[in-house]
Symmetry: D2
Subunit: 345 residues, 4 copies
């Protein structure tokens, strides 16, 4: 962390500031420029509130120079994390997986969709049982019964299931049932008690980026989970809020290589929420794959206009099948000879 000291500071004020910092256990390095003096603050500066320093009379600005995340930081863990989701399915480190299924679990019909997506190449099954809805008057999901339907399909098809947990009081239920991957939704991206609660387990967590989170904030969310002891975090780019109104969200495809650069955690793309319209889901899925995502999460429904929620962005099984064929070719195009100048080089 560096603090820029104003030109107007007296030598006494500067040395008083330096002592104040050093008294808190940090080393300093003072560098005088023409119009300002820079104080480098060396040590574990994640504890310091930069706004606090900026409030001091003689301080002009404070800038972090090291990332506030540690456990999620590739600098300290250069190797890719590979998350074992059960049923033999690995995410990250070169393993590419496609999670598919309906937005909400609606009943026994789930198994038909599950069979179809598995046939086309999906390796994990998704479906919401607890739904965060912007209106208290909207359908809120089947709850525990939805989890059971998901798990039946999982057992029959030998596929891990991914489903959202919204309330820290529900985490134990998810563990007891044996849910393979707990999803944290965009609205809970900074729900710290919930992040801590899933962090106390060892169950893989699919952490979605908040609606207007930066990538650093997403990684700090992962840090919350990891700081409690759970290293099994998969990140998910699901679109961010921008001024564009022709899509539900803006798919930040850049986030994929950026996360790969900053962190060792895997990141997948969610082209369904990132666009909000069936007609744009496939181009976004291809883009995510081409940008090097470690997987995709795609909504599939056999009759989208009957879906209870978010049906607007679901693919039909036939559309999904077409997409999977192209996704495989794209994945191959970016992976071949990766060591001779591939995506990340």
């Amino acid at each position: 962390m560096i603090a820029i000291v104003k030109d107007s500071a007296t030598p006494e004020q500067l040395s008083h500031f330096v002592r104040w910092i050093e008294d808190r256990g940090f080393k300093t390095n003072v560098s005088k420029g023409e119009n300002e003096t820079i104080v480098g603050i060396i040590g574990d500066t994640t504890q310091i509130d930069p706004f606090l320093l900026e409030s001091m009379d003689i301080i002009d600005q404070v800038r972090r120079v090291s990332e506030p995340f540690k456990k999620a930081n590739r600098k300290f863990h250069p190797e890719d994390t590979v998350v074992d989701c059960g049923h033999g399915v690995l995410v990250g480190g070169g393993n590419f997986q496609v999670i598919a299924g309906p937005c909400s679990v609606e009943g026994k019909g789930l198994i038909d969709i599950a069979r179809a997506v598995k046939r086309s190449g999906a390796t994990m099954l998704r479906g919401g049982a607890y739904k965060p809805r912007t209106s208290p008057y909207s359908y809120q999901g089947m709850g525990e019964k939805g989890l059971d339907i998901l798990l039946e399909a999982s057992a029959e098809l030998d596929m891990p299931v991914v489903t959202e947990v919204m309330d820290p009081r529900d985490v134990q239920l998810f563990l007891d049932k044996g849910i393979d991957v707990m999803q944290i939704g965009a609205r809970n991206a900074q729900n710290f008690p919930l992040l801590r609660e899933v962090g106390k387990t060892r169950t893989p967590v699919l952490l979605k980026r908040g609606m207007s989170e930066t990538i650093d904030e997403l990684l700090m969310g992962a840090e919350y989970i990891m700081s409690e002891g759970n290293p099994n975090v998969i990140l998910c780019e699901r679109g961010i809020r921008t001024f564009e109104t022709r899509t539900r969200n803006t798919f930040d495809v850049n986030a994929i290589p950026v996360v790969h650069h900053l962190s060792h955690l895997p990141i997948i793309g969610d082209p369904s929420h990132s666009t909000g319209y069936t007609r744009y889901v496939r181009p976004a899925a291809y883009a995510a794959t081409a940008a090097g995502a470690d997987g995709l999460e795609i909504e599939v429904h056999d009759n989208p206009s009957q879906a209870w929620s978010d049906g607007a962005q679901a693919l039909t099984p036939a559309q999904f099948d077409d997409a999977m064929r192209r996704i495989r070719v794209i994945r191959e195009a970016i992976c071949q000879d990766l060591d001779e100048g591939g995506v990340e080089a």
Copy 2:
């Protein structure tokens, strides 16, 4: 709600769509234009997902024409809500209150700040005991002990206290202790289980706008609380995220008259979080007052550069005292002869 039907739709498709809507219990009204046909959908359309309709082949666009919030809507409740916060303090309906105190409760020193702010005209006391921090490694607040310190000051000075609750599992503790106003922070603005939990009580809730929430979303958060039975909601504009980096957030001063137009709920301004720097807190406080806010929440600390969190944006008691004198004059300027063409006319 209206659906715009594409020009390319056949008469059969159109009548099929109309029947589909009517089968769900709505009335329709079809209006043919030159390039498109508009289907008005009449009834309680809060249940309909507009994205779902837009996914249908023949539909071009869907637009809501009525607000999705009801209990918070001024159309259905024209009278201002007045929230009784205890100790004789009312918010809304012409009652203007100032909440002041430190960002975090740091110990027994709270009482000195509390006395100072009361002397200057503050009528409610704030202080965080549970702190939502972006880093898991930052100080997380004193917890239950902090609540006790707050309540001691409250008792001694006969002032209601406002403090943040982050976890639905803590709500019962807040009730048992007798916290006067439960604050929901910006990061939990769409934490629906938490909103429901405070909605089950009758304790006043101070609901802060999410970092990139629209005003409609803020009102939907209030709707979540009110739909569970708790009508005592005070809204708070605390700044939104924009591209500006010279301030911590951008104070959306427009939100104050907009909320007054759309809703009967009171709204206060938080100039501390809305700016992030002590030097800008007073101009923002004056602006909020001038725009017609029903009150202010201001961080005050006797030694800001010692504060454990957010000290960067605290006023000293002397600065607060100066501010209060000006705030009273501004409040008077906008209130006088309000019925002859005042703020809202």
Copy 3:
């Protein structure tokens, strides 16, 4: 366009409003709902300012239901526009082209970069002679001399050149010199006199999306050019401003299929400005291709750390060559059997 009339309006007020609209040459269609009345306004409503109607006492809201762009609208021109850029190079309608070259023309060395990118498959040459720089103290480009250097390379390699025009007073010079494609930069996306000036020519225009423009606004920029008589517009997604700071801009990859849906104009992707860092350019280029872009514009420099501007986002010729090989495979993956359920279906 529809106007939502408040419940509180009297029948006299409503009929007064309807007459006011009809007096301006529009037809109306009145539909009464439970809580509001909808007045459909039929005719060429691009002339009506919706904010004006909303200012009337009895009007609650006004919503456009048809797009404000006409000449750029696919509804009225279903066939893809194919832009002829000279030297036999076509953009759009299935023709995929890669524009490459340095950010700024720096001197005679341009020809070496041009030869390299041509060898790797680029079909058009770029290079800035007039540079819009945020600081008046930064290098502003070689000007007319830069155009001449570009045109020499163009002649030698038989490739069309693309270069930015910033000032309406320079358009004639660009015409006289025979520049193949005039680029309008993001900062001039709503510089209406400049758009009109290039609209008076028949030279192809590469119109970049403004930094925080919506897609509709981008299309209205195209409409300005087309309304003057120039149909040869190529759109370019070059990244939009978001809260993310790890990249220079956020590449809105969704914009590619959205533009294809709304408009008949071709759209290319600019992965260089969309990311701002060499290390992210290739993933973004692959993503743009996978999403169905009609081409790419990529900065290439033989020694990026010597470049006079924006060198930070240039590929080396070797990196560009690697990228082009993968881009061809990705393009093929999304194009094959396009009519049996391809990108847009």
Copy 4:
């Protein structure tokens, strides 16, 4: 400017980088931390592209520590600039002025509005003759004839006029006519040829903030004008684009004290464009005044629903008169005893 060098850099790479910087005429100061090394770059770093340095293999990040604007910077010019707008009207340095008039000049009726606003206390007259409209099909203003009508009113009432110039080719006409203040609109905030052109005159310029500009970018726009020799710049906060849709723009009231802190230039508030709806104009005008603005620009029209453009946000003369009475009280409240701890202290 500081560059953070990666841990992985060898001592040779570091000293190579330092030499490269010093060869360009800068001094350096190297400070080794635990996980990174910081190189301070001392000298006129406005010439360096930080993205270029960040593209180098061994560089992690680059941060500016001094502002890129100089002539507009309060550090180098601590005294407030006072702009003389003619007719004895000064803006800045404690002088508070209100500019009022219709959005567009519509004809001879202007003089009636002008008389009314002068009577209520406005000191400058506004009116658009050249209008930047998002649609090429919208009314584009009266042009030169509009300027003449404005100047007639100016002469009769002895008030300076403010009107927008959009095209660098029109600047000479504005000079010849004797327009008192040339306004640069939000869409031209980064139209550098236009900024340079008005910079070559000595006529006061009212520079509006771009729709999604940061305050630093606004000040860089002023720098463009000032670098050509024109010091007479008045800044204007007119609202920025955010996700909020209930107002046309979001009035960034914080920008007023921030500009006062960073720059010596005056800044006024435009509550009309900042809100977009008549009903919110007055609260925003009071807020701007309370935050310490050096003036206001307000649209006033005697029959808003007849106005040719932006009538939706105009006050009637009666509303304007009411507002002016309150504005005077608010201005007094913040100015009194300013030296004993006022707005800026």
